[in-house]
Every structure is written in structure tokens, then in C-alpha cells.
Amino acid sequence: MSEVREAITRAHHDEWARVVAALTRRFGDLGIAEDSAAEAFATAVERWPADGVPPNPGAWLTTTANHKAIDRIRRENKRDDKHKEARMVHDDDPPEPLGAIDDDRLRLIFTCCHPALAMETRAALTLRMVGGLTVPEIARAFLVTESAMGRRITRAKDKIKAARIPYRVPSADDLPARVSGVLAVLFLVFNEGYLATGPDTDPVRHDLTAEAIRLTRLIRALLPDDGEVTGLLALMLLTDARRNARVSAGGELVALDEQDRGSWDAALIAEGHRLVRARLAAAAAGIAPGRYQILAAINAVHTSARDMRDTDWSQILALYDQLVRIDPSPIIALNRAVAVAELDGPEVALATVDRLEPTLSGYHAYHATRADLLRRLGRSQQSRTAYDKAIDLAGNTAETAYLTRRRDQLR
């Protein structure tokens, strides 16, 4: 019995996106695809315990979902309309000559991450259609009510249909720009999992980080030659590897310098390092790395050090310098200042950080960084004020606990 349940869970994990994607391709309607896929899985839950797990669960689910979709269309007695719609949305062009990326699931991801949809909608729709998360699960992840999330997803599906957002992989010309949008969605999902923003949620939402990693692996399998996809996967793995060391038993965030490096996940780190090395080889061959690859390389340096004191800060600073050139955002400048503090001292770093005040004064990490630098300079009163601001702005419970302890340790 539990074997069957396991098989259903595994099939949901492995086959959900494939079933939704195949049905979207056939019927040209995300709503029909989603509902029929859900019905097929419900039927599996009913039938597999009695009939046994079919030899090819994916094919069984796709066939069953296809029948459900046809029944549904007949029942709704709008067969002609639906078929007309299916033809309209269906991409009649011959597949782009892009080899492995001509895949239904990839079309589905690009449709869910279309730039005509709002960023948060793209993330929600991707988690539902590609990740197979339920609407209540997604609502919890983004801290909105189930009905609000249901409406958001329904609106997105309606827009895809009404505005005729095509179900296809973008052309080779548009691909790099569109992939970067997909990666931004996956990074958003990962970050929400890694530093959950709600006062009532767990500080780390492993379900979300795991889902982001799984979807990034899927993208990588479909687009193996895209350096940024590899970079983002490496970045996520090297970040997630530190998950167990990052929150104490008391629910407090543990800063990098206090983490028990022995509890980092060695397998994830090894895989992340392997991916970073592959990208370094590509960079050596003259392919300029993008921001995810550089961020991954920074994390590779951190995870190579047995101890905070062993960290190769000059290497990290060099990587930040490279990152600033392609992404001159104030947040990157703030993180770069942390490396500057290790190399040139907190005073030099503080001067850099203070210059970011106009753009970052509403960002908790800006105040937390300042507070730490002021603490190291012995300017306790100013440090306390900065911690207060950081605590006010931080949304993550573990982080708030950490900042509060740090503030209360000041004398």
C-alpha cells in the first residue's frame, strides 16, 4: 500500500509537468490541461491500489488525462469552440531547429514565464503548472489568501488564452532574454524559500527551495549549453548546502562566520563546485560569465574554506568587481562592501556603505551591514540605532532573532 502511495507521489513529482504540457499542446488550453491532469492523478489514487501501478505511469497518466479532457469538452458541449480555440493557440510553425529544447515542458515554462505577465504571477503560475503545487500551497508561499491566489492564477490563464500568448519556445533571437526571465522566476521562488518573509512561516521553506532546484535542474536538462542556467543551479546548490547550519535549534539565523561547517551538505557542495568549475573552463575559453555564474563562483569560494578565516577574500572581492561591471545595482555594491571590510577594514567598508543610503535606506540588509561595521568600529550607540532599523525592516523570523541578539550584546 505504501509502495503504491510512494509511486503516486513519485509520478506526481516526475510526470505532472509532462502531462500538463502534453495536454496544453493538444488542447491549447491551460485550464483544461490542469483540471484533466488533476483528475488523472485523482483516478490513479483510486485505481492503482486495486489494479497495481502501471508499468509506465507517465503514459497511463497522459492517456487518462487525455480521456478526461475529451469527456470534459463533450460535457461542456462546446466541442467546436474548444477545438477552434485549440487550433488558435496551437503553434503550427515547424519546431525551432534548436534540438533538445523542443520539449513540451519547456514550452510550458516559457508560457508561464511570459514577460506580458507580472513577475509574481509568473512565479505562481510556474509553481502550479510546472511544479504541480496546489493553489493553497502557493498561496502560503506568497502570503496571500487562497482565493486571491486562485484569482491570480485564473486571471493569468485567461490572459494567456484571450491575448493569445503563444505556447512555444521563443525563437533563437529572443531566447537569451526570455531564459533570463525564467531564471529570475526560479531565483525568486528559491529566495522566498531560503529567507521566507512571513512572521508566521518557517524561516526556511525547504519545499520552495527544493522545488526551485528541481525546476532549475529541469531547465538545465533542456538547455544544457546555457551558462547562466548552470550558474543558477550551482548558486542554488551551494546556498542550499548550508541550510542545516543556517538556523540554530532556537530558531535564530546563524551568520556565516558562526556556522558549523561540518553540517554543510558535502554532496551538494561537490556538485555545485563541479558546475562552477565547468563554467570557469568556459570563461577561460572566452565566454563572459553572467551574474548567476559569478554569484555561484563567490559561493564556491565561501564553501571551499574550512573556516571563515581561511576564506579567500581577495578572490571574492575580484568576483564582486566583475559582478559590479555587469550589474551595478546598490545591493551588489552592499555585498561587495562586506568583502572590502575583511580586506581593508570596517572603516573603508563603512564609507562605501554610507554612500548607498539614498537607495537602500528601506532595505533591512543595508542597516544590518552598517550595524555590524559600526559594532566592529566600537561605535556602539550608532550600531544600536542601525540594528533597530534593521529589526524593524526584516521580515524573516530567524533573522530578526539574530539581529536582536546582536543588538542586545552591544555595550
Binding site: 488558435m88 511570459h114 514577460p115 506580458a116 484571450a162 491575448a163 493569445r164 500568448i165 503563444p166 521563443p170
Partner: protein, 107 residues
């Protein structure tokens, strides 16, 4: 699939006024490529009249139905196979008109 393509101007920060030759050339291309259905520039919003005949007698009022900083300056109707094609054209149109563009499908 037909799309209504609206040209949006801004009263406090209007687009430049010398766009006509470029827009004409763009229209020629839209016609040649089979996207063009209809196009027209609109006179100033002050020339609008709103009629409300839902009550006992019609009421005419001077001016547009909504007072706002942004207003509709002109429209196209395009025939395009999907939103990606419409958005690509609209991206060009925004540059050519020096104004924001809204793309909205007909039902």
C-alpha cells in the same frame, strides 16, 4: 487575432510632435506585411463629448469621460497570429511614436 493598439500620451510629459513621417513609413510596412487593419490619430481630449441617454433624456457633457494625466492619443487595429508578434510590433511602435503603447486583444 485582432489587437487594439492604443497610443498613450501624457499631459504633463508629452511625447515629441515630429513623429508623423516615421509613423507613415511604419504604417506602410504594417500594410505590406499584412498586419494593418485600421489606424487613426485622435484630436485633443478637449474636443470630446460624452452622451448619457440612460435616463429620461439625453445629457451631453463637454470633455472626455475620464479626466486623467494620461490619455488616448490614437489607435491601431492589427491582425497578428499571437501576442508575441503584436508585442514585437508594439515595441517598435512605441519607439516610432515616442509614446507608451497598450496592446489589448479583441474578444
Amino acid at each position: 487575432m485582432q489587437y487594439l493598439v492604443s497610443v498613450i500620451d501624457d499631459k504633463s510629459n508629452p511625447g515629441s510632435t515630429d513623429r508623423q513621417p516615421d509613423i507613415s513609413a511604419f504604417n506602410e510596412r504594417l500594410i505590406a506585411d499584412g498586419y494593418w487593419v485600421f489606424a487613426g490619430g485622435l484630436a485633443d481630449t478637449t474636443t470630446a463629448t460624452v452622451i448619457d441617454n440612460r435616463g429620461e433624456q439625453p445629457v451631453f457633457s463637454d470633455g472626455p469621460f475620464v479626466e486623467s494625466k494620461e490619455y488616448l492619443a490614437g489607435v491601431w487595429v492589427w491582425e497578428a497570429p499571437d501576442l508575441d508578434v503584436a508585442l514585437e510590433l508594439a515595441t517598435e511602435a512605441s519607439k516610432i511614436c515616442d509614446r507608451k503603447i497598450e496592446v489589448r486583444p479583441f474578444q
